[in-house]
Structures are given as structure tokens and as C-alpha cells.
Amino acid sequence: MPPGYHGCYLRIDVSTGRTERVPLSEALLRGYIGGSGLGTRLLLDEAGAAVDPLAPEAPLIFAFSPLVGTPLTTSAKFAVVSRSPLTERINDSLAGSGFALAGKHCGCDAIVIVGRADALSVLVIDDGEIQLRSGDGLQGASCPKTEDTLRAALGADYRIASIGPAGERLVRYATISHDRRHAGRGGSGAVLGSKNIKAIAVRGTQRCDWAHPEALVELSRELSQRSFGPATAKYRELGTAANLLTLNRFGALPTRNFQSGTFDQAASLSPAELGVRHPRVRASCTACTIGCEHLYELDKAGVRVEYESLFALGSLCGIGEGSTVLRASQRCDEVGIDTISAGGTIAFAMECVDRGLVDEKWLTFGSGDAVLKAIELIGRREGIGDLLAEGSRRVAMAVGQGSMAFAPQVKGLEIPGYEPRALQTMALGFAVGSRGADHNRSGAYEVDLSDRVDRRHATLESVQHAIETEDRAALMDSLILCKFLRGVFSDFYDEAAEMLRQVTGWDVTAGELHDTARRIVAAKREFNVAAGWTPDEDTLPERFLDAALPNDAAAVLTHERLQQLVAEYHRQRTNS
């Protein structure tokens, strides 16, 4: 087995407690590397596309990578892969920090969980030895409370991944939380909840060798040095919250359920304004030199806020009051729900109320109390919250009356904070994304905000750009490296190959990694086809097609143009 790997995964059936150590071939590892790629391959091999994502037999996979445990900055990350209960398509979500290290130190490259425990339980993996413990006392506990309680009970050297009350109640966009961060999108928390597993606790001592340790340490030192430079300054100094004013300036800030691309209260949600009333401190994941996290003080606690939470719980719901958005983000983190899907679903419901399609008069744009109340109801699945817990697509199916046209989702996944009409390469990325509308699997917004394309008039040339960002994301998510590093590389594929050579000893090249990235994207599509994907899923809601974005007459994406772009995307993918 090559250095950097253990050469096996743990397969745990929580119905029976049976555990297997399943070998992984070198060919499979080299073909899919780790993280999202390895997780997707294992999910396909487990026939995960054929089962209901919340059924006991549905696999939930935690995948590590050869770079986990190395000194390479931002490499302490893990992927969670399953069929999504929100989209019923592939879902790979990532999170960072010590769980990746401790999980890999259990002597495995991935953990595959199937089955359903009889009662709420905690899965403890101690150096590869498995134990199912009672989850008594943790029912309904928030993500941070669960993690703190378990570390106090088991020992501070355990690393915990947990769900909040939303995961227990199978909210379809529930998260898996670790160290106050989240594998956020697509509802992996509901999958874990469906198995009656409140948390997974891991610790271990089994480390992997590296093929060329001295060269790897030198490479890592040099990469860390570059990570302190201007390419990461925005993340370090301002955090992703800085994007809000930029996107607002370009009419690309989704506002009031995508009814506008500008928000008149955007300035009040900027890092500078938030910081006036809520002092800010920085934090970082384990083994990260960037330190992108900015925690804003709220009632003596630090609230981690990213752009996506600010937009989804702020402008998208018409909320310009910083304290309210911080509180809403904090409650989403505690309850354990994805802020983008929560904000998207709430904003959609607000527009339904506006149009007289839903009789919940309190649920109005601009009401901070309404957003906070809706989050609580979703977490408890009470009242209208039980429907909102299903996500905007299922809400639209229940409401009917043409509401699907303005449900802000693709394949059921709520659209992140990039107005598709104003950023049309991103629009294509959203339409074809294997896990639905997603900015982490297609980084095409950065193409739109460059001189490579006309952001409001996508052409067939845009397709290649969208494919390139999708391929790069697939590789970064499989190595795994944080995407905030991407600006420090002069040639990412070359440098990634060098990292893998030093860790594994493989004679891997940049060209091979291009092929690997395409193979991983293709594997996700293969999964979706097996799960029932049809070509008409690769589109955008009607709202975004044919009509101009209000206040920007040039921002028009016709249905015909999007169809041409999608067709060209599939043509190029088929031929590559």
C-alpha cells in the first residue's frame, strides 16, 4: 500500500454492531485519491443510488485523504458522502479540523456507516475499535452542547462529529457539525439522524508514512509561506463576509428571494459595520495557516459568519439588521441546519406569503423575528416548520399554484449567493451541478468577475471555463485542500502532483490529475444517473429565465441560451 494511505476502510453496521475492515486497492485509491472522489467511488460500489437516503441500508461515508495528517496547510479536512435526502442525488459535503486527523488515525481511509441503531446512540471509534454507546441525555442537544458533553465524558483527545436536533428530526438540510464547523449542504445530518446516531467520536494513534518526508516538509513550509501573502488576504483580513458589498455593487446579491440583485441595506451587513457593534476575532481550522474564520461577538459568544450565511439569512430575507443575522446564523449552527437552505426556504415561504399562497401572515420579508421564529420551528418540525424542513422544492410541490417557478433551487438544493442572471457562467455551473446549485463544486463566479467572459452574456466559450472550475473543485475536494488556497498556486495541477508524489511516492503528473478530476466528476454523474437523474434537471427555475433582472436590463438569460450552454457542457463532458 502506498504511503499516505492505510489501504482499507471501516464498514460499520450500526444495526448489528458488525464491523469489517475492507481492503482498498491501490488502483482505486490512485484513481479517486480521497475525500469526495473516494467517497463517491465507495458510494457507487455500495449501490447507494438505489436506496432511499434515509433508509437503514443507505450508506453514509466519511472519507479522508492521503494529505490528511501531513504538514501541508489546510489539509485537515474530511468529506461526508451519501445520497442526499434533499435532492436524492449525490451529496458530498466537506468540513475541516481535528476529526479528519483523529478519524484517519483510527487506521482507515474512510468510514462507511450503514444500518440503524435501536435507540439514539453515539458511535465511538477508539483506534479502530468500535463501540455503540447510549445517546441518553443528548436527545435534542445542540451541536456544540453535544460535542462539549461528549469530550467531557470520553476525553479531550476525542474528536466529535455530531448532529443537532434538526438532524434527529430528519430536517432534509440538517448538517453534521464538528468543532463549530459544518459539513453543511445536502442533509448529511438527516442521514446520520436516520441511523439514530447522534454523534461519532474518534481517536487513534495509527499514522501513515510519507514517501519523501524531508521534501514534503520543505514543500509544506514553502506553501505555508505563500499562504500568508496577498492571494489569501481577503479571507484572512476580512473573511468571506467582504463579498457582500462586492456582489451588491455588481447587482449580483440575491435579495428578497431573488427578486432583486441589490439590497439597500447591504452596507449594514458589511464586516466593517458588523464589527462596530460586534467585536471580531479570528480563528482557523486545525493545520491551517490562512485563518479565514471571523467570529463576531454576540452575548459574549463568538458567532462564525460567512458570506453565504449573511446573504441567505440577510438580504435574501430582506434583513439588514446585523445582530439579527448573527443570531439567526448562530441558531442555525446550534440547531444544525444549512444556512443557505434555511434562508432560501424561508425567503421562498416569505414570497409565497406575499403572494397570498401561504397563510402565515407573520412570515414577511424584513422581519427578523420571523426569520428567528422560522428557524426554531424548522428545528423542531413544528407548525409551518415541518413543511419548511423539507426544503423549498418540496414546499413548492405542496403549495402548487405555480410557485415552483420561483422556488430558489436546482435539483432541490437551494441556490447560493450569486444571482444567476448577473453571473451567467455561474448560472451554468448551478444548472449542471451534480449536487444541485452549488458554489463549492463550481467556482464559475470567479470567471464571471474577470475579463475572461462577459458575465451578463454567456457564450459557448463560457462552457469551458465552467468545466475547468468544476474539475479543479473536484480535485481539491479529493486531495483534500481548502479552496481558499487556490489563488496561491501558479499551476495548481502541477503543484498538486508534486504533493502527491512526496506523500505517496506515485509518479503522478499534472496530466494524470486532470484525468482524475474528470473521472471524479463523471463518477458523480454516474451516481446521479443511477439515482434517476434526467436531463431536464439541468436547468434553473423559471424566474431566472427570459426576464431581465430588475434594475439591470442587460442581465437576461434566455431559456434557449441556457439550453445551448447545458447541451454544450454535456457534449464537452462526453468527449473529454
Partner: protein, 84 residues
């Protein structure tokens, strides 16, 4: 012309906007660096660091130092990686 700063350029310049006279994009960058030395790591007369982008009038992104600018143009300097 009017220059707006967003993201890291605003952090470095210390202001949100400024009026500058310049005939080309390269001249504009040179003047900006003279006026705001803290921009030097990101901006030279020859162009922009890859982490910074420049936009003209909210429409077109520009990078050619020889690009002719009009007196009534609005130039926006922003962090290029405007994603989360």
C-alpha cells in the same frame, strides 16, 4: 474619473472611493500607488496582482495597462476571489 475600492483594496487604501485623473488604465494604477502606497503589494503601473480585479463602469473587467479611459469612467478595484 471616479475610483471605487472594495474588499482588500478598500482596506489598503483606507477609503471607499476617490477621484483620479488618468488617460490610461496603467496611468490610473500608477497614480493610485503614488497616492496610496499601501496598495503597492497589489498594484503597479504594469498591472494588478492576481488577487485583485478591476472593472469599468460595472460592465467590463479590464487588465490592459494601455486601455484608454474616459474622464467620466468609473473604475472599481476589488478582490478577485469574490466567492465563499
Amino acid at each position: 474619473m471616479h475610483v471605487e475600492f472594495l474588499g482588500i483594496p478598500r482596506e489598503r487604501a483606507g477609503v471607499a472611493e476617490v477621484e483620479i485623473e488618468a488617460g490610461t488604465f496603467g496611468q490610473l494604477l500608477g497614480t493610485l500607488v503614488s497616492r496610496f502606497p499601501e496598495l503597492r503589494e497589489l498594484v503597479t503601473e504594469r498591472g494588478l496582482h492576481s488577487s485583485i480585479a478591476a472593472n469599468l463602469n460595472g460592465d467590463e473587467f479590464v487588465s490592459d495597462p494601455n486601455r484608454i479611459l474616459a474622464a467620466n469612467d468609473r473604475v472599481i478595484l476589488l478582490s478577485a476571489d469574490a466567492g465563499g
